[in-house]
Amino acid sequence: MDPSKIPALRRGIRRQYDSARHAHVLLGPERVIVLDDIAVEITNLLDGTRTLADISSTLAEKFAADIAQVQPDVTAFIEELIEKGLATA
């Protein structure tokens, strides 16, 4: 995936906190995905204005990590969301 692309949640996809399962979830047609802490951080930044590169560098900065390590994980997660029909880019 090209780092200059701007990923966003697809229409009709919602993120919310589920108090029964004590976790954030992504909800879509026939889809329920329980998000771990990293996934919560990434989806926080899927606001339709940031590029994939921006998202990676924001997270690298926030967690004082090396961007070269962060970017592949972020990319893989977002690609998975796209494949599952939950995000677009």
């Binding site: 009709g12 029964a20 399962r21 979830v25 909800l27 879509g28 047609p29 026939e30 796209i82 599952k84």
Partner: protein
């Protein structure tokens, strides 16, 4: 007994009324009349209880749920309670103002059924003139209003050749998801099986088309594919396991583990509004009847697949083997498997074209 997880989804069958008459409808043969339906207050209470129980998705279904005047109110309430609201509809009774009211109420996803790709085919199968054109119009509005769109295409011998055209139609409508479902032979479909069963070659061709298109359209259009299980080697997993993910509430308020569960003798169904939903889910007789694996017979009882497919479909085991506890006869390990396959092949050759249309 292992701990029982909270349900994820609630299927709310608001009504059995429907303007279409699809001959493979999954509703029971004995359809409920309008007078048996529960009121708005009942469904609002169900939504509260479901949300408290941990349900995350609600599917407003039927019959045709849009025939209920209180649908926007129910959608709004469900959304306010944190439920992801889905509408499973034929779309023929919708219009622009109804759809935008529903969108404003928080509806997230609309699934529209299509009976074919050509209007002549589709309108004959649903027995509703002009239906196909109306569905196309409503599908376009769904996405314009920012909701997720699923094109639901039920396929069988009399429309399978339109499968490629149905995929193109989903693309042209800019759908988010395409559900291609071979007919499941329960209820009305079982009655019409000889007019619906595809032959093996047609089903293999369909499989290949879906596999190829699914790959080619990755990330653009999500495919969900329900295989025709008479031709499969292994049965499908029943709703992620009996009593594990989903509750189904009938128009008159009975809570079922599965939409076809009423066909199974010996099950008792509690009523929502009378018994708390949580009690029904955790302790209800029908929910516990086939939970887990302890109820199984051979060959399921000693099979490695038993925690994956849970022995297949209970309703199908009953319909085909005469025993709801039997291995689903579509499984290649069932002693009845060969017989079922031969029957499917024989029926697929029948010239039967006429349907017994669904009627209340």
């Amino acid at each position: 007994m292992t701990t029982i997880a909270a349900p994820l989804a609630l299927m709310a069958e608001l009504t059995h009324r429907c303007p279409l008459q699809c001959p493979y409808c999954s509703n029971p043969l004995e359809l409920l009349k309008a007078g048996a339906e529960r009121d708005t207050k009942f469904w609002l209470g169900v939504i509260d209880e479901a949300a408290a129980l941990g349900v995350l998705q609600i599917h407003f279904s039927g019959g045709e749920p849009a025939l209920r005047q209180d649908l926007p109110q129910l959608v709004e309430h469900a959304t306010a309670r944190g439920l992801y609201a889905n509408l499973i509809t034929s779309a023929v009774t919708l219009d622009e103002s109804k759809l935008s009211t529903l969108a404003q109420a928080g509806l997230a996803h609309v699934q529209i059924s299509f009976q074919g790709a050509r209007p002549q085919t589709a309108d004959r199968i649903g027995n509703y003139r002009g239906g196909h054109e109306k569905k196309l119009q409503m599908a376009r509005l769904v996405t314009q209003l920012g909701m997720s769109l699923t094109v639901n295409a039920v396929v069988h011998r009399q429309n399978l050749e339109e499968l490629p055209a149905m995929i193109d139609m989903a693309l042209e409508l800019d759908a988010d998801r395409l559900e291609i479902a071979h007919v499941q032979y329960h209820g009305w479909a079982l009655k019409n099986r000889a007019a619906l069963m595809p032959d093996r070659a047609a089903f293999e061709a369909a499989d290949a088309i879906v596999a190829q298109k699914r790959q080619a359209l990755r990330g653009k259009l999500t495919f969900d594919y329900v295989v025709p299980d008479y031709y499969a080697r292994a049965p499908k997993t029943c709703m992620g396991g009996w009593g594990q993910k989903t509750l189904n509430i009938t128009p008159d308020g009975r809570v079922l583990p599965c939409h076809a569960a009423e066909t199974i003798p010996g099950l008792t169904f509690d009523r929502a509004g009378t018994t708390p939903l949580a009690k029904i889910w955790f302790e209800g007789q029908a929910f516990n009847a086939f939970r887990g694996t302890a109820w199984m017979q051979e060959p399921c009882a000693s099979c490695d697949m038993k925690t994956i497919d849970f022995g297949g479909c209970r309703c199908q085991a009953l319909a085909l083997a005469g025993d709801a506890r039997a291995t689903d006869p579509v499984c290649h390990l069932s002693p009845l498997h060969q017989q079922i396959l031969e029957m499917a092949e024989t029926e697929s050759m029948a010239d039967e074209r006429d349907f017994v249309y669904r009627r209340i």
